[in-house]
Amino acid sequence: MNYLYFPGCTLYTKAKNFDQTARNCSLLLGFELVELPNWTCCGATFPLATDNLMALLPPARILARAKEQGEVLTTLCAICFNVIKRTNHLIQKDGEKREKINQFIEMNYQGDLKVLHYLEILKQEIGFSTIQERVKKPLNELQAAPYYGCMLLRPFEEMGFDDKERPTLFEEFLTALGARSIDFPYKIECCGSFQSVGTPEVATECAYRILTSAMRQGAEVIVSTCPLCTFNLDQKQSDILKAHLDFKTIPVLYFTQLLGVAMGLEPQTLGFEQNAVDPIPLLKRKGLV
């Protein structure tokens, strides 16, 4: 079984390692991520102003093109997933907007594509039990804190990813990999998102609160589903150190990186050199690299 796949800008360029590990893992799990031809940027924000039709056109076009290729579209990046899925939902529910959009993009798309996040593919299509069986290097009770962020969960009615107040899908995933999943209250709190370009110190403070919350519960590593969250939580730790003298750093991994470790991919292929806080010492301590 192959899945139509939308990489998005970040995973196509700066976070290529996240993309590559996912592709490699998929093959080990018996399916292939087939890149959507002629894809464009999704726009990275779902327009909240109701009169902003223009911002809906790129994701609409992506959806329309994907529909020509198949029935399911998957993404890795939580932001792309949010934008595409919400647009899909809007096209489904709002006849008036649907008509306008179709006129603009000169296509006829009815909103009938299924949009799934890669984690949903793993759970619904492959099954976490299958993954557990195929894990080459169980994560040895690595104390991993699953950070959901906002984009997968909200708005609940449109995303339908998991329970909005206490999601568990990510935990199940980590457990399947042999890690010990650490529950922490900030797992659904926002990392500051694009404030890292607007008001960076706000994003830094958000990251500080999330990281320390996880550490208080005993986390050794934070695992994220979103490249922007990963950036805010990982790359900002040097700024946090300046603002909070008591702060201790903690590695932050993208979920495909951890999947790669468990599937036994070579550490060199996982792009750890791009992580600001080096996870290698931890992984070594756990006997995982």
């Binding site: 329970d163 909005k164 107040e165 206490r166 209250p185 919350s213 208080r216």
Partner: protein
């Protein structure tokens, strides 16, 4: 004192049966039954639990006088139990109703108590010796009950029932301790549900309320944080007959909480996610809770998050003002999220009057969860052929002028089954229902 009733009535010449059935043995049903009984008519009082008293029996004190709830209620339950014209059918449910005003045929299921109540003297030995313990529903799962139980030592009738889900005999076919210890041989494991038929001329529905379960509130921890409890649980904690003998101790570790947060409108006034209506009693019982707590834990601090303080009854506003003056901090705003952090419960709220986000590290959080109709009310409404609204509350014939009548002649409403109300309003509502029954009987 009062009258010595002399007038006996049964059936009038035209066959109109002058005998009423009251469904629900809480304060509403009790009040209606006594009123109808005192007017000289026979009453069947049906209660689904083993004894009467309803939620009021779970309360510690009542606002605004801080009278002990047991003390005001038990004389009424005793009076009901001894009333010459009231026949109690506890541990019973109405299965079927046919006919019309003056001639309803009713089928009642008397649930198997596994105890022969005719023989039982209520000595209580069986309860003492029963080895099975499990969280008691009456104590809101904060205390332990036995598999053979009465709801309280002061229960009316004071006869126990066996819960087969917890009884070792039913589960494992062993034990039989109660059977051995019973001095009168009243234990009867083979007992089965019985269906009985009755004829009545009028029906009062007083099935009362439930609280919306704390498990519904994701943002407040899905009921899984032990020290986040609901209002009725706090009543039990505060009650002398409750699991802590009236000491305010938090469920998780038994410590006395020093920072206590009360949250109003949990599930009420929330059309988007839960119930749009106001539950009417929470503002007052929370103020009462806060004061009772403060009287017991002098160095403790109470925080109350509210949207609007609703103290409309007689003496209520004065009660609220006094509560504030005792140093209880009212914060106008909702609470967005509650989570556990170590031994503390982190409460994220707001004070809209300063516009600031507020964080409280609490030891105990009490949620004033929404009043909802008792779950069986909807089915009962279908059995009776009366209307209920989308929340399940029973619908009165006309909002203003017919607040106890229904769309069916001869069927009347009393208490919270019709909508949230406090005890005083419930009693007046139940009196009114009784008045309608009396008038119906008098005119036929």
């Amino acid at each position: 004192m009062g009258g010595e009733n002399k007038i006996e009535m049964g059936t009038s010449e035209n066959g109109f049966i002058k005998r009423a059935m009251v469904i629900g043995g809480g304060i509403a049903g009790i009040t209606a039954s006594i009123d109808i009984g005192n007017a000289g008519y026979e009453v069947l009082l049906i209660e689904r639990l083993p004894s009467i008293g309803g939620h009021m029996l779970q309360l510690s004190e009542t606002f605004p006088t801080l009278d002990c709830a047991q003390c005001t209620l038990t004389p009424k339950t005793v009076e009901t139990g001894q009333h010459p014209r009231i026949r109690l059918h506890t541990y019973s449910e109405v299965v079927r109703v046919a006919g019309r005003a003056g001639n309803f045929s009713v089928q009642i299921r008397k649930k198997a108590a596994y105890v022969d109540w005719e023989k039982c003297t209520g000595c209580g030995l069986c309860q003492q010796k029963c080895p099975s313990r499990y969280p008691s529903e009456f104590d809101r799962r904060m205390g332990l009950g036995k598999a053979i139980y009465t709801l309280s030592p002061q229960a009316v009738p004071n006869k126990p029932v066996i819960n087969p889900e917890h009884c070792r005999y039913f589960l494992e076919k062993k034990c039989r301790v109660c059977e051995k210890i019973c001095p009168v041989g009243a234990i009867h494991y083979q007992q089965e549900d019985r269906l009985i038929e009755e004829k009545v001329g009028a029906i009062v529905v007083a099935t009362g309320f439930d609280l919306m379960p704390v498990e519904r509130f994701g943002e407040y921890g899905y009921g899984e944080i032990p020290d986040v409890i609901d209002g009725l649980s706090f009543e039990r904690l505060n009650s002398a007959s409750g699991p802590t003998n009236g000491e305010i101790r938090r469920p998780s570790d038994g410590r006395i909480p020093k920072e206590v947060v009360f949250i109003q409108c949990t599930g009420s006034r929330d059309p988007e996610r839960y119930m749009p209506y106001c539950s009417r009693v929470c503002c007052m019982y929370t103020a009462k809770h806060a004061r009772l707590y403060k009287h017991k834990v002098h160095d403790g601090q109470v925080y109350i998050f509210y949207m609007d303080i609703r103290s409309t009854g007689k003496g209520y506003e004065e009660f609220i003002q006094q509560t504030m003056e005792e140093g209880i901090l009212y914060l106008r705003g909702r609470v967005s999220r509650i989570f556990r952090e170590g031994e503390k419960i982190v409460v994220w709220g707001v004070d809209t009057l300063t516009g600031k986000k507020v964080e409280v590290l609490a030891d105990l959080v009490v949620l004033a969860t929404a009043i909802v109709p008792h779950q069986e009310t909807k089915t009962l409404a279908q059995i009776l052929g009366i209307h209920s609204d989308s929340y399940g509350f029973l619908t009165e014939a006309e909002r203003k002028l017919k607040p106890v009548e229904t769309n069916q002649e001869g069927i009347y409403l009393a208490g919270c089954a019709q909508g949230p109300k406090d005890i005083a309003e419930t009693v007046a509502h139940a009196n009114a229902a009784a008045s309608k029954v009396q008038a119906l009987f008098a005119t036929h």
